[in-house]
Symmetry: C2
Subunit: 258 residues, 2 copies
């Protein structure tokens, strides 16, 4: 059997340590092509570049790994679109992986996540896809405990397939003295970010703001990603791109009067 073709992207940019780890693992399993942003694109959600041009160039950032790599001026979703329709064309990837993100993308953060938007964009294209994130925001974050699990999950995805129209959101607990307890398939916890805005004055005495905030979890369910991560499990949430709140259709038809 031919080696599987694995497309790699991320949102921290092609020079981030997390993507380097992911590329190294993917190269053990298959033929790898990288199309990733040329700089940080964190928090870009499912943004795409409309009304502006895109750049796409061969990248030397991962040259020492001997991988075919491109850097793109656009968002993570742009990267996947360019990879599919311009770089790979007739070569269909067997798997698209994104990350490993520096920072959690569990619970509500999935919506803001560029890492997961790359994976979800791949799912929209009909490709099996996984986003990987580590619950550690540091540039110097230790990814070593994730390596064996990333390999295991990629191999399982290739053998056992990912359910159709679904991308997996995989989050790893921050490295600690306690070993990881295992992997749990979870649902997204119901939570939100509680924002605060730090108001400051620029050198011209004009106001500007920094967004800060804290994570508030409303959901104590033991089947959630938040529960898994707090208890030192790896969480996997299958994510869909159909946003329809099916249960609400009946309510609206009954209660509303047109």
């Amino acid at each position: 059997m031919a080696k599987p073709l694995i497309l790699v992207s991320n949102d921290d940019g092609i020079t981030a340590p997390g993507i380097r780890m992911l590329v190294r693992v993917a190269m053990k399993i298959g033929e790898v092509v990288v199309v990733a942003p040329d700089g940080p694109q964190s928090g870009m959600g499912h943004a795409i570049t409309i009304g502006n041009t895109l750049r796409l160039d061969r990248s030397i950032a991962l040259e020492d790994l001997g991988v075919e790599a491109y850097e793109c001026s656009g968002t993570p979703a742009d990267c996947v679109k360019l990879a599919k329709h311009h770089v790979l064309r007739e070569r269909t990837p067997d798997l698209v992986v994104s990350g490993i993100n520096h920072g959690s993308n569990s619970s509500i953060s999935v919506l803001y996540s560029g890492t997961m938007s790359a994976a979800i964009e791949a799912a929209i294209e009909g490709l099996p896809a996984i986003g990987f994130s580590l619950c550690d925001y540091g540039h110097g974050a230790d990814f070593s405990h994730t390596e064996a699990y990333v390999e295991k999950i990629i191999r399982q995805a290739i053998v056992n397939r990912i359910p159709e129209n679904t991308a997996l959101n995989v989050n790893f607990p921050k490295k600690s003295d306690e070993p990881i307890k295992g992997i749990k398939i979870c649902r997204q916890a119901h939570a939100k970010w509680q924002e605060e805005f730090d108001e400051r004055l620029d050198p011209n005495n004009r106001k500007y703001y920094w967004m800060t905030g804290s994570f508030v979890n409303f959901d104590k369910g033991e089947d959630t990603d938040e529960w898994a991560l707090v208890n030192n499990y790896i969480s996997i949430v299958p994510c869909q791109f159909d946003l329809t709140a099916h249960h609400a259709i009946g309510m609206l038809n009954e209660d509303w009067d047109f």
Copy 2:
């Protein structure tokens, strides 16, 4: 009963004709505060501003309407966060409306839509929210046929409530000679954008790309937003922010081996 407080945002920017129409209608019904981007933010999906500062200033763009209005340098989701936590603070909006977008946000476009990300961000904050879009991309688009329906939908939302953790995605057919047939509560059609990249050379002979694409609808269901719009109905899709593909959890637990 006090007038309801209605927060208005959009993604085409505070100077777009669509938001002006929405503000005019909202002012018939309640007290209105506008916090909208200071320029176009189309296709921004659920992006938020991380690692960068935000500006927020009083705007004169809607001064002739006599409305309290602010323009923000950030994304639509940033606008809603700033509105809730900095502008309004203790004043809780009874409804958040976004749009009216210049262009369709039906089907898969909901994921790329800044208009809908403002509404979904409001839903995450526990606020009832509606995004309005017109299936006409032109800056000179005719919104006149939407006015009575926008008013009706806003009044219904205030009286009959929007289901919890849900934002409504309302799309209007483009103005035509045929009158609108009515309103349909729908599910999101399964569709995608088929991208093509137009490769060009800049004046320095370096390649750049324009993303173009065409919409491909895989879903012929008569309960979808695409069906409604093609048949000259207004479509309303209730959207949720829980992306969990609940049906896939069992499949993964059965088929995968950890």
